[in-house]
Amino acid sequence: MKHTRFKIGFVRGSLLAAFLLMITSWMYIFSVEDADFLRLFSEKNKQFTIEFLQNLAGIGVENPAFTNAESWKSAAVLSFKTLVMSVMAVGFATLGMLLTVIPAASTAASGMLTLSRTRYGWFIYGFIRLFYTVSRAVPELLWAMIIILILKPGILPGAIALALHNFGILGKLCAETVEDMDIRPVRSLASSGASKPQIFLYGIFPTILPKFISYIVYRWEVIIRTTVVVGLVGAGGLGHEFKLSMSWFHYTEVALYLICYVILVFLVDLISEGMRKIAQR
């Protein structure tokens, strides 16, 4: 009974805290930051916005980028590069995740999964979990800003930055899948003397494969949206050119890249939907 009361108390307290946080945040934004909501709709801003939208649509601009075959061609090349970057990022993240996911599951750390307990199991578990948390707490853009100081601009630093962030997320999701999986087949394999790789290949891999694929594909959807963002700080692809066109006020190019970006996102969504269906069958 007491337990239930605490349960409800915590939920109520959380909601109350969230509500208070909302009020203080909005008050802070309105008072200290001096945000004026009405000024947002001032005559001047309206003018600016209309002008900006007209520029994007290429009204009154000579030879807008999206009627030009040349710019479409270069945009297509950039889109392809961006796609390659996203694939590479997912690949790196998956590779890192696959190497660490088994020791990062609490069932493996406690020895329940493989029926063999090691003294350092929990230590490795904690270490990898901390690594996951840190790598996913830092946004892709910040990773990119750090990595661009070390690596030369191109799609590789972008892919690594995206991979670092998504490695933490994929790791967490997939480790939880391993924790929730049915351990009986694995135990039966282990007790009949299968080696570690055999246990992984025949016991764990087939069970978790559909879930893993659906997570990987889900992260790919997110990554393709974020490729533009890491491009902004100098990693290659659509984002880089987007930023350049923005700072040169080539707004019709901006519009063209935005179109390509949205097409790319919907394309990846479509492919991933199909992949998920195959994986879930």
């Binding site: 930051e33 590479m88 707490a137 910040l142 694929i213 533009v228 994986a279």
Partner: protein, 265 residues
């Protein structure tokens, strides 16, 4: 048996295709010695040095607290709008307020689904850039930029949650002549609320990260300080701010996990 075998095949083929695509993508990079900057390795050493000795002087700590609060405030403000719009869009696109099985039912549902897809498609930072280009720097640029894609994501998930609400209590409500709105209030909401809250809290964690990178367009917060310190090559300060960001995300993560355990399980 034959059937089963085929399932296995399609999954294996998919895995192989994914693997091959990844390997093919690697060929687009020229793996020479030209990948690293001239001073790249020294920079990395300096960065590791900074990580081992972050700058914890009072001045920097004060600044970090202040920027952490700004980041949090923007995230919370963006999430407030996102939850509101996400809820409305979720209800509309799940079609629970509409008459059953008409052509208009599907039309409305799919219209809002498509709209949610569009909201989701563009990353928050791109929205922010566009807002700043259109109206100049203002806190609302960041708040709206967070709110738009997040209401798309929340709306999509909320609508899925609404469609998965158990059917029995709803039937009983309907049999007793409840209106659509009453069904929403007494049938859908009580069952969906735990899932709605726990997902919103999960997204809140993501919103903090998004709000931190809003600095890139010139709005204050942790990301802005990180960028400044990075430009001054003060890596020890960079790590102080990064630790604040990581700490904040971890706290919210923990909070949402505790909440989820009590709500959903």
């Amino acid at each position: 048996m034959q059937h089963k075998l085929m399932y296995f095949h399609s999954k294996t083929i998919l895995t192989i295709v994914m693997l091959l695509t990844f390997i093919a993508s690697l060929f687009s990079v020229e793996w020479g010695g030209e990948l690293v900057h001239a001073g790249g390795w020294t920079t990395m050493l300096q960065m590791i040095q900074g990580m081992l000795q972050p700058d914890f002087s009072l001045e920097i700590l004060k600044l970090a607290f202040m920027s952490a609060w700004i980041t949090l405030a923007y995230a919370v403000a963006g999430m407030t709008l996102a939850v509101l719009f996400g809820f409305v869009f979720g209800v509309l696109s799940s079609g629970i307020l509409l008459k059953n099985r008409g052509a208009s039912h599907y039309a409305v549902k799919n219209f809002f689904r498509g709209m949610l897809g569009f909201l989701r498609a563009i990353h928050e930072l791109v929205w922010a850039l566009l807002f700043v280009a259109a109206t100049g720097i203002s806190p609302f640029a960041a708040i709206f930029a967070i709110a738009i894609p997040y209401s798309g994501i929340l709306g999509r998930v909320f609508s899925d949650i609404f469609t998965n609400v158990p059917e029995k209590p709803l039937q009983s409500l309907r049999a007793n002549g409840a209106t659509r709105l009453q069904q929403l209030l007494y049938g859908y909401l009580p069952f969906a609320a735990p899932d709605l809250i726990s997902y919103a809290f999960y997204r809140f964690e993501c919103a903090i990260r998004s709000s931190a990178i809003m600095s890139f367009i010139g709005l204050g917060g942790l990301g802005f300080q990180i960028q400044l310190s990075m430009q001054d090559l003060h890596y020890d300060e960079v790590w102080t701010f990064l630790i604040f960001l990581i700490g904040m995300v971890m706290i919210v993560d923990l909070w949402s996990q505790m909440l989820r355990k009590r709500l959903v399980a």
